[in-house]
């Protein structure tokens, strides 16, 4: 068979010479992995730029609402043995922490860890308060009125109760071995969550909790705005966070995280019971852009 001297507009002799030259210093080719389907039709997602703060990560797409019931969810729920339905507010509730994270994982979503949730909420905050431009998955600017709705849905003090699980599990250990009235003092905490790597991959990591994390509950409270503007690297409030109305419960051994708002206030809970569930406690999805 006669082979062409040019393919895809590239001269084959030049390409080959160039390859041979480069291959002198090039390592063995890497194994190719299956390509991901680029996200094309997710209007309900907002782009969370990975460079919002100095420590960057791969851009993400965060769902504007909590996970809703759909035929796809139904299929996955059947496989997981879950009986799900939307609550009165139109999102899936009554799932415990493990079920929430498992559901998202089976749907090829990732549940927001405190860091990404904080960044997402801060992005919405900037869009509402500072008119920062926020874009949807198709690259279209999101209407500020929609940003306001998202902000109110997550933070506004009003009925009914709306809450969501976050991707964080805490473990406490005694580093010093000090005994106190409650037993051995847990003075070393770890956080386990799904971390977005630089290359867009996702890995479950367990890290020592940032030593600047506020380890004292405040009911109320801490400043929501100050927490959003200046969180720890893991997305939790710093020790010097300003006072405010956001209820905050510190991590405890074996606890998980969640965020919610209702008529009694808005809260960031890091002492959640992973086995508990509530009809108004759902989960939000994010995807790698």
């Amino acid at each position: 068979m006669k082979l062409p001297s040019k393919v895809f507009g590239i001269r084959t002799d030049e390409a080959y010479s160039e390859y041979l030259e480069q291959s002198k210093t090039k390592k063995e080719p890497e194994k190719q992995v299956q390509p991901k389907i680029p996200v094309t039709n997710l209007e309900g997602y907002i782009i969370l730029p990975g460079d919002l703060r100095s420590d960057k990560y791969h851009d993400l797409l965060v769902e504007v609402s909590r996970l809703k019931y759909s035929p796809k969810v139904e299929q996955v729920a059947t496989q997981l043995g879950l009986n799900l339905q939307n609550n009165d507010q139109g999102f899936i509730g009554s799932i415990n922490h493990e079920q929430a994270l498992g559901l998202n994982r089976s749907l090829e979503n990732i549940t927001l860890a405190p860091r990404y949730f904080n960044d997402f909420l801060y992005l919405i905050y900037q869009g509402v308060k500072d008119n920062k431009e926020v874009y949807d998955a198709k690259g279209k600017k999101v209407d500020p009125s929609l940003l306001k709705k998202i902000w109110d849905d997550i933070t506004e003090v009003r009925s009914p109760w709306r809450a969501e699980w976050l991707n964080a599990k805490f473990k406490g250990e005694s580093k010093s071995g000090i005994l106190n009235k409650l037993g051995i003092l847990e003075d070393q905490f770890y956080i386990t969550y799904d971390k977005v790597m630089d290359d867009g991959g996702v890995k479950q990591v367990t890290e020592e909790l940032d030593e600047d994390t506020l380890m004292k509950s405040r009911t109320p409270g801490i400043s929501l705005e100050n927490w959003l503007k200046n969180p720890t690297i893991q997305g939790l409030p710093r020790k010097n966070v300003q006072d405010g109305n956001l209820y905050y419960w510190k991590p405890t051994n074996g606890s998980v995280a969640g965020f919610g708002a209702g008529s009694d206030g808005t809260l960031l809970s890091c002492d959640g019971d992973p086995a508990s569930s509530n009809v108004a406690l759902g989960v939000r999805a994010k995807k790698i852009k």
Binding site: P4, I10, T12, Y19, K26, K31, Q32, I37, P38, T40
Partner: protein, 404 residues
């Protein structure tokens, strides 16, 4: 040869090839040039029958219209095609020579079947044969249509027809090269206005003085068939046949049979690995032919930059959307029942596989194979779903090896 339909109006852009818009009449034009059987799927009133009727006008008296009915049998079909043929069969005197003489007289170049799904399977099978230019009697195929024959069929068969278990679906995807869902490309309001102001007769219009352009159509087909096919198109088609078959660990989707897509595990589920099966070699031929026709049409419409990859991908989209290779459950759940949206996702993924780096590697590989050499490092650049390219280049290199 640019087709202008007499009554049918539709200014909705179906796609864009080489920077020029492609409309419904262009797709019909492409299918005629490529001798690709066309099935127009859609709801009642979307204009598909009128479109087919308008095409008949280009074939003078060398076209035939059949209205599909469930009470039509093969006998009636052949009675319509050629009464003498049926008589010969009935009297049992026909020899091979006689059949040949009779089939030679059937010089229809275009067969139009309205409401094809209404026909019973036996009639459908004979109709598909007629589309492909022959009549089969006792296992012997007798050609008709003087070397050029093509079929256009219409019908509203719902979503089920792409299901593999559905007999009609299988028959359609096997024998119709191009299936277009007209519901996705409905005429624009201005088209409707034009149709309404021209005539208030709601019946499908038949032109009483059809213009016979059979010769120019068959010539256009010959010209297209004689054109050299760029090598890149074969590579793209090979990727669609072999690359899309690849699963992690070297597994094959086709070999998984009914296990696909449910048994595909791991991170592949976020890939097109669970969305689409590989195309068949037959579909690959249709895609290349349609791509050649679209390139030609776009040039006639003023395109100056011909992007082979672009026309191949657009052809892939339209040949494959309803050919039964998409994961129907995923189409329903993720793409809101739109086969075209699912194909767009596949096209987006495929694009990432044909980036500049890969194209340069392919060019390098072609040069290497042309010299009859096998550079292991270069060959190993083609792994995973590109493993087929490694095999291909090795074989080409062997063919071009200098004898010792």
């Amino acid at each position: 040869m640019v087709i202008k339909l007499n009554t049918y109006r539709n200014s909705t852009e179906i796609t864009n090839v080489n920077g020029v818009p492609i409309y419904m009449h262009d797709m019909v034009d492409a299918s005629l040039r490529g001798k690709l059987n066309l099935f127009l799927q859609g709801d009642t009133g979307s204009g598909k029958t009128q479109l087919a009727r308008d095409v008949m006008n280009y074939f003078g008296n060398k076209s035939m219209f059949i209205l599909g009915r469930n009470d039509m049998d093969t006998r009636e079909l052949f009675q319509q095609v050629n009464p003498e043929f049926m008589r010969a069969l009935k009297q049992g005197y026909a020899t091979d020579a006689k059949f040949k003489e009779l089939t030679d007289k059937i010089n229809y170049n275009l067969m139009v079947v309205d409401e094809l799904p209404n026909c019973v399977p036996a009639v459908r099978a004979q109709l598909f044969n007629l589309f492909d230019g022959f009549i089969e009697v006792d296992g012997v195929a007798y050609p008709i249509g003087s070397g050029y024959s093509v079929g256009i069929a219409t019908g509203n068969v719902g979503q089920q027809f792409t299901e593999s278990s559905n007999e009609l679906g299988r028959a359609l995807k096997d024998r119709m090269h191009l299936i277009i869902d007209t519901d996705y490309f409905r005429p624009q309001p201005i088209d409707t206005l034009e149709i309404l102001t021209k005539d208030r007769n709601p019946r499908v219009k038949f032109d009483r003085n059809p213009e016979d352009r059979t010769i120019s159509i068959t010539d256009a087909h010959k010209k297209l068939a004689e054109e050299e096919i760029p090598f890149e198109k074969y590579i793209i088609a090979s990727y669609l046949v072999h690359g899309l078959d690849y699963l992690d660990g070297g597994q094959s989707k086709i070999a998984m049979k009914s296990g696909w897509p449910n048994k595909v595990q791991g991170h592949q589920t976020g890939s097109d690995a669970t969305l689409i099966l590989p195309i068949s070699p037959r579909a690959a031929k249709s895609i290349i032919t349609l791509s050649q026709a679209l390139d030609q049409i776009s040039k006639e419409k003023g395109a100056t930059n011909i992007d082979l990859y672009d026309s191949m991908m657009k052809s892939f989209k339209f040949v494959s959307a309803y050919s039964g290779i998409l994961n129907e459950a995923a189409v329903r759940q993720t793409y809101h029942d739109s086969h075209y949206a699912a194909m767009d996702a596949v096209l987006d993924t495929t694009k990432t596989q044909f980036d500049d780096n890969r194209k340069a590697l392919i060019a390098s590989g072609i040069e290497m194979a042309g010299k009859g050499k096998k550079n292991a490092k270069l060959l190993n650049e083609f792994s995973g779903r590109w493993g087929f390219m490694k095999d291909l280049l090795e074989k080409l290199a062997e063919q071009n090896e200098t004898p010792k």
